[in-house]
């Protein structure tokens, strides 16, 4: 595999961990940063300029809930002035039409609005808040302001049976894109996995339904979906490969190759307060650790797919097999695939696992 340092394409700007929602599958780490630890607006604008100079095309503003920052419009203007494509990934909860107009005026290119279900009651159960009606209003405002809109439905065992209703809602709203993202099991979702992991029958049915929906909506709405990789034959190319396309900056300025990398032991992440983004991308130990193929074990090392899926996800290898450099156990070729099969057998067996347990809700840091 080539050992040249690749050009990053995407800056994931996790501008805050504060959030009015408490989703049981939140992709944030279990240890959340509070308001006092957050980078300033000036620091974020500088990060956008550094990223653009490195070749990055797009900035995804996410959190937590990025709208929890009163200075978000300044950050978006900074990204646009640096030449980046600015997306906002939001629950849409602390938003009114005036504020949306302000973000559009600052140069916001695209809004990705998350949905926790197709109904108020289920959305409330998974997010611990009442937000559904508000999201429908936000979608209307986005259309009125000619803002590109993606709907993002997070799907899992407890809401997969609402899939047709989610598609009907998508038809009513008519966004440019819709994503159906099966929960991936890290952080809070890993804690709640027993109640979230779908059955095989549900997964097969959902893939079927979504394939048909994609054909039906062609030319109106692009339908994209992410399968739960526990059921896949081969692992996902996590983040498009470690340190190949994406860099993620945490609210406090730590720079990571992915959302979950801070679970990896013995890995020190560098901070934009002390080193430039370029130095961190090109020379830091964390970004170099799993870049290219030298770190791989068998069967990855000699596998034809190693340049397609890069051995899968390092965090998942750690979480499931306790070895971050091993083949992602979801791979059908992985020596530890048995670990995943055991989990699936529990989910698909009679008297499903975890039905009686309770949710671990994500708290809101101060």
């Amino acid at each position: 595999m080539e050992n040249k340092i690749p050009t990053p394409l995407v800056l994931v700007a996790e501008v805050t961990h504060r959030c009015p929602l408490h989703c049981v599958y939140c992709s944030n780490p279990l240890e959340l940063t509070g308001r006092n630890g957050e980078l300033s607006a000036e620091a974020w604008i500088d990060i956008c300029q550094q990223a653009a100079a490195m070749g990055v095309l797009q900035a995804d503003f996410t959190g937590g809930e990025p709208l929890a920052r009163a200075d978000l419009a300044r950050l978006i203007r900074g990204a646009r002035e640096a030449g980046l494509y600015a997306s906002l990934i939001t629950s849409g909860v602390p938003l009114d039409e005036g504020r949306l107009a302000e973000l559009v005026a600052a140069g916001l290119d695209h809004l990705q609005l998350s949905f926790q279900g197709a109904r108020e009651e289920s959305a409330r159960e998974f997010s611990g808040t009442r937000t559904h009606a508000q999201k429908r209003r936000v979608a209307e405002w986005a259309k009125r302001h000619r803002l590109a809109l993606t709907l993002n439905f997070v799907i899992h065992r407890q809401n997969l049976d609402e899939l047709e209703e989610m598609l009907a809602l998508t038809d009513q709203i008519g966004p440019q894109r819709v994503e159906f993202a099966h929960v991936q099991y890290y952080g809070w979702a890993f804690q709640n996995r027993a109640r979230l992991l779908p059955t095989r029958e549900q997964v097969d049915r959902s893939v079927d339904t979504l394939t048909r929906a994609g054909e039906r909506m062609r030319g109106r709405t692009r339908v994209e979906y992410v399968v739960p990789d526990y059921y896949a034959k081969y692992p996902k190319a996590c983040m498009g490969g470690w340190g190949r396309k994406v860099m993620l900056v945490k609210p406090d300025g730590d720079v990571l190759p992915c959302h979950a990398a801070n679970v990896l032991p013995g890995m020190a992440f560098e901070n934009v307060r002390r080193r430039s983004l370029r130095e961190i991308w090109e020379n830091s130990d964390a970004f170099g650790r799993f870049r290219g193929g030298d770190w791989m074990q068998e069967p990855c090392r000699s596998c034809d797919r190693r340049t397609q899926d890069f051995g899968g996800c390092r965090c998942q290898a750690l979480l499931l097999a306790q070895d971050a450099a091993s083949t992602d156990p979801v791979c059908s070729l992985a020596p530890r695939r048995q670990l995943v099969d055991t989990i699936l057998a529990e989910v698909n067996g009679v008297g499903r696992a975890g039905e009686a347990s309770s949710w671990a809700y994500r708290p809101n840091p101060r």
Binding site: T150, R177, G219
Partner: protein, 92 residues
């Protein structure tokens, strides 16, 4: 169906060209970007809600006098149709 020849295409919501100062010209879209070569850039630059499809074809035929004019026309119609399917274009 091909785009109607007298309609005026313009870039859809969330679709725009990157800055001229960048080394490569791209059409930026939600969650993706298309790299543009000479002719595709010339087409996209004319999708401004002012030029009709007919005008775009005729201007590209002038820009590329050595190319077969029928081929230029059918390539442009295909390209515009593909972009419309991706919601990168709207026709007025």
């Amino acid at each position: 169906m091909n785009p109607e020849i007298d309609k005026r295409p313009r870039l859809g919501p969330g679709c725009r060209l990157n800055d001229k100062s960048q080394p490569e010209r791209m059409l930026l879209m939600p969650e993706r970007a298309l790299r543009l070569n000479g002719p595709s850039l010339a087409i996209i630059e004319r999708c401004d809600g002012q030029h009709s499809v007919r005008q775009i074809i005729s201007e590209l035929q002038t820009l590329y006098p050595k190319a077969n004019p029928q081929k230029v026309e059918s390539d442009i119609l295909d390209y515009l149709k593909r972009l419309e399917e991706q919601r990168a274009l709207e026709f007025e």
